[in-house]
């Protein structure tokens, strides 16, 4: 008995598919069902009403934090990747290349713990400024709020985006970039007008992945900032730990899916548009 090509293909993807079904599809459906189930069973939007009543502010807060972090991450990653590709000072490029990837290897929870003492009012950063005479002790403010969350996210995600972007930039045809330089364009102009448009898809992929990652982090908002307002992950954990209320937690989960679906749509549209053109 021999298997046809088609059967063989199905057999080969079966383990992968089973894994996706068991570890992703099943919990996803389960949480969807739970989010739309009322306390007495049956379909109900009660969990969503509660989620919206109590946490609408946190939904906005979460979106603002994650979008702002993505924009800042993109900006810094472009600066770093641009310097690595177009930089002419060997020492700066060498140092940057050696340093910029480090945060990639540090888990979010460790980064959050470091930021807790670094960004505090009398923390390492402010104390250093005071010691250098750049700031009066009375001017010190605590960054352990939304700014701290953004700083931690950007610090952690920037090397990832820069890594993908630098790779894409390095793969570009140098001739076009050098042609631009020969015709008298500044390096900044070459980066913005020649190089970046060619690597936009890669930048976008990196940002979408960062967006979804940041949306799912619990430790950073929990450890870096106080809880009012806070991100949706903290609210979900609180609903479960304090009340054992899985329905509302799952409703918040569904809202999070929708937010990340927004990012996924941008990503897919981009991919389809690209496939559509010859």
């Amino acid at each position: 008995m021999s298997l046809s090509q088609r059967q063989l293909a199905l057999l080969l993807i079966a383990p992968g598919f089973a894994l996706v079904a068991a570890l992703f599809l099943y919990p996803l459906c389960f949480s969807l069902v739970s989010a739309f189930t009322g306390p007495e069973g049956g379909f109900s939007l009660q969990a969503f009403a509660k989620a919206w009543e109590l946490y609408s502010g946190d939904v906005v807060f979460t979106v603002v934090i994650v979008v702002a972090s993505c924009l800042l991450t993109a900006l810094l990653a472009i600066v770093i990747a641009g310097t690595l590709t177009l930089g002419e000072n060997r020492y700066i490029v060498g140092t940057l290349r050696a340093l910029y990837r480090w945060p990639l290897f540090i888990p979010f929870i460790v980064a959050a713990q470091c930021m807790r003492t670094f960004l505090a009012k009398n923390g390492l950063m402010n104390n250093s400024f005071v010691a250098m005479g750049l700031m009066e002790p009375l001017q010190a403010v605590s960054f352990l709020d939304w700014r701290g969350i953004i700083a931690t996210f950007v610090w952690k995600q920037m090397p990832f985006v820069a890594l993908l972007l630098a790779g894409a930039l390095a793969a570009l045809d140098r001739a076009t970039l050098e042609a631009g330089r020969n015709l008298g364009a500044s390096r900044l102009r070459v980066l913005v007008e020649l190089a970046l448009p060619q690597v936009m898809p890669q930048l976008l992929v990196a940002l979408v992945l960062s967006f979804v990652t940041m949306l799912s982090v619990l430790s950073v908002p929990m450890m870096v900032a106080g809880s009012q307002p806070t991100m949706l992950t903290v609210d979900m954990a609180f609903r479960i730990n304090a009340y054992g209320d899985y329905a509302t937690a799952n409703a918040l989960g569904v809202i999070t899916y929708l937010i990340s679906a927004g990012a996924a749509i941008i990503y897919l549209k981009r991919g389809m548009a690209k496939e559509g053109t010859p």
Partner: protein, 376 residues
């Protein structure tokens, strides 16, 4: 042949003898330090006074989830001959549930030291009547920690604190309700102070209309929050106190002393238990109904709640408040250890202002009321 028989029976005897010795199984819900407390401190002491007995200590995990595991195990063994555990160390919520389901034995009458207990939590566990079924192992308590250099006379009541915070903006810090129990405890204390009848919240019965009386208290708390710092977590409050960023904030007393002993808090920090009171919670010793060794279990608990063990183990080693009335510890502790635990908060203040948490339904109402009316 005879020699062989002799050898065989001798071998059997050697193999069998450890089995014939008694084993006392102690299951603790809670952090690793509680399991260690039983294993490294209580067990050797008990084994010494009871030759042939072996104490086995297991942990079931921190928080209410740990008690839940003990409950599930005992519940599953309800119809079996004997339970796996002889002594259980459980939280308040779990204790109420296990008593209701008839999983625990009424044993405190057989244990002499139960007469030394004065705390109301020995009979009332978040609204459930657990009298006779439990003896508190220790009491942990929240209080306001403050920097004595920045603050000479700390606010003695919640009302004074409210005015003080207004005059000294951003000098009071707490962690809200999502960042750990010290903040939750502060909020519960706020409702005790400004929300009407605290005793009703502690003793029940539950009345769903009660929460409508808290609106003014929550409005004031919202206003209060504008002039305070929301810290990131229980440890976040202690961190900020340590760095001098805030002058006062609610903390767990045992955490406070442990941090101070480790040098993570300056020695000029002190504690104040503000009136009308802040909540704390006990851990309980209980004996499962199906335990095969009730007598031994009772003797174990009698040792664990004896004044000397409470003084040396609970107070001196782990910075918890004793489960039995603190006045029975006087003279058992060296002066330094006594002073450390009771200088800032006297035993009288502790028994007056150390409150239990509200019963479970009020507790949830307070949290949700806070989310709706304060944090939103």
């Amino acid at each position: 042949m005879r020699i062989l028989t002799l050898a065989c029976s001798l071998a059997a005897l050697i193999v069998a003898s450890p089995l014939s010795a008694q084993t006392l199984n102690v299951a603790s819900a809670g952090d690793q330090n509680m399991v260690d407390y039983v294993k490294d401190y209580l067990a050797p002491m008990f084994e010494k006074s009871h030759p042939g007995v072996k104490v086995v200590s297991v942990g079931t995990g921190p928080g209410d989830a740990g008690s839940q595991k003990i409950y599930e195990k005992l519940d599953a063994q309800k119809s079996a001959g004997a339970a796996d555990f002889d002594v259980v160390v459980i939280h308040q919520k779990g204790a109420g549930l296990m008593v209701k389901e008839g999983l625990l034995a009424k044993y405190t009458g057989n244990v002499e030291t139960s007469k030394l207990v004065s705390s109301a939590t020995a009979t009332n566990s978040l609204g459930a009547d657990v009298g006779g079924f439990v003896i508190p192992m220790f009491q942990s308590q929240t209080a306001l920690a403050y920097n004595a250099d920045m603050l000479k006379a700390p606010p003695a009541t919640y009302t004074e604190l409210k005015d003080w915070a207004k005059k000294n903006p951003k000098q009071f810090g707490y962690n809200g309700i999502k960042g750990g129990m010290s903040g939750v405890s502060f909020v519960a204390g706020w409702v005790y102070a400004f929300g009407g009848d605290a005793n009703k919240l502690i003793q029940g019965p539950y009345d769903a209309a009660e929460k409508t009386k808290w609106d003014a208290a929550f409005a004031e708390l919202k206003d209060f929050n504008k002039s305070v710092v929301i810290t990131p977590g229980n440890a976040g409050t202690l961190d900020m106190l340590n760095r001098g960023e805030i002058a006062i904030g609610p903390v767990w007393v045992d955490m406070f002393y442990s941090w101070q002993a480790d040098g993570k808090l300056p020695p000029n920090m002190k504690l104040k238990l503000t009136a009308p009171g802040m909540p704390g919670q006990p851990m309980y010793y209980a004996v499962p109904e199906k335990s095969a060794q009730k007598k031994l279990a009772e003797e174990f608990i009698a040792l664990a709640t004896s004044p000397q063990v409470q003084a040396d183990g609970i107070v001196k080693k782990f910075n918890w408040y004793p489960g039995i009335d603190a006045k029975h510890l006087e003279g058992k502790l060296d002066k330094a250890a006594w002073d450390k635990l009771f200088t800032d908060i006297t035993p009288a203040e502790l028994s007056q202002n150390g409150k239990p948490f509200p019963i479970a339904p009020y507790f949830n109402d307070i949290l949700e009321g806070y989310e709706k009316k304060v944090a939103n």
